[in-house]
Symmetry: D2
């Protein structure tokens, strides 16, 4: 992959029956679970040791803020496409954009701000180098984003 060409991470999630509610659509909270799933898979695919390995090395992540725009509902059996890109990459935090769609239609836009912390509820820590390298390749906006 050439430097400077951002490459979003892609992950698919099949909507489960139990994730839909009485309205016949995915319950609003479950999109955050899908995002968490995509994050875990990004780590598994690109960070040696994966998310669990990072935690065992002493670094964990907490969510600082989540923003979800619901454009159209997902339904049971939908195979969702999650496209993850990095909107901002700071020293101890990052902001992810996660676009959730299905068969080319945009369903939900999620923005997540994460903070890297010492595992076991400690204070902020710098993003580990191996993680930063992965995230850098997925930055979609300019420096400082």
């Amino acid at each position: 992959m050439m430097a400077g060409v951002p490459e979003p991470f892609r992950h698919q999630v099949r909507v489960r029956y139990s994730e839909c509610d009485l309205q016949g659509i995915v319950f609003n909270a479950n999109y955050l679970t899908y995002v968490d799933d995509a994050l875990t898979e990004l780590w598994r695919a690109a960070v040696p040791g994966g998310y669990t390995g990072m935690v065992q090395s002493g670094v964990d992540m907490v969510v600082g803020e989540a923003n979800i725009r619901y454009l159209a509902p997902a339904r049971v059996d939908d195979l969702l496409d999650l496209v993850v890109s990095v909107a901002r990459l700071g020293t101890t935090g990052m902001t992810l954009d996660v676009a959730i769609g299905c068969e080319g239609r945009s369903l939900t836009e999620v923005t997540m701000r994460y903070v890297f912390v010492a595992a076991g509820d400690g204070g902020k820590v710098p993003i580990p180098d191996a993680v930063r390298a992965v995230l850098s390749s997925k930055v979609t906006s300019g420096p400082g984003g």
Copy 2:
């Protein structure tokens, strides 16, 4: 209650064991479930027939946008205080502020934008009068919010 004196709705939720994750804290998506729970209880307390009654009368609500600021984590056994106020009351939509705290500490601030729709996935409809009366008493900002 005097006209013009906003009165937020208060609801309590006990954190369940199954709602906490490997970090020892409530998983980020579950706050939206608590908010949904508080909303249902507001309807039960104040709207004749409750939420189910409103749906049976042909009006339902969908979430347009959710914003969650995570200030401090909730933990198992915490008895959460949810304080619901109306930040904006429009013709077919409203915006709620939900402050989630525990023992006086602020844990999470949630802003939810809802749209009233015809039950069964229809288009936007005006907020029913009985619902508007309830919401009006909980508006915290000026007209137009």
Copy 3:
């Protein structure tokens, strides 16, 4: 309470919107969450320090077997009554019967077998005395159950 008169523990749970599925009823897995909730509340009500205190003292519980008979569905807004009694109280394990009903109708019958273990995934340990005292008052069957 007289010795020898078993007194089941009672707990109420309100069915949440998000716990119901496309069939319009509570999703089958969620009854185990209700049972877990009732168990936590029994500990909170009767065991000094509650469940968390027991874990901090070095003793935890794991589920060995669960059996659920679904007699009739629970629905959104239902206020469920859970009645917990002890069917068998052994040295390192116990079996609970949890009857779940609503407005006098029996909805679900759950039997759970638990094993007491050293906290942190250790081996079997005897039931702590304070816990045994509580459970003994709720045994519904004869010795050895």
Copy 4:
């Protein structure tokens, strides 16, 4: 496939972070969600129109009884193997055995009894022919099970 040679259905599920609890293992209720997921995938793979198609044709399924034996815990990141076979195939009901394992180790054994009903909460109905054909190929025990 030769007649008489039962062929269990196999499905894989990756354990999500949010599905694990404070004990560091999958929360006990979530195995029923995995089973439901496997069932949906079996229908998708083998029944024309899938589960949703069956419901639209007027036939739905409800759970009559669930039994779960927890042998060893599943953990975050585990890729679970679910092996579904039919223990009993009746006129309006069936019993499934679902063995859940990971990397060759057996973790959980689940037995589910389902009843076929008229969609929309109706009474028992015969198993549709297309479904019966699929299930017949997965019966592991003798006639009458």
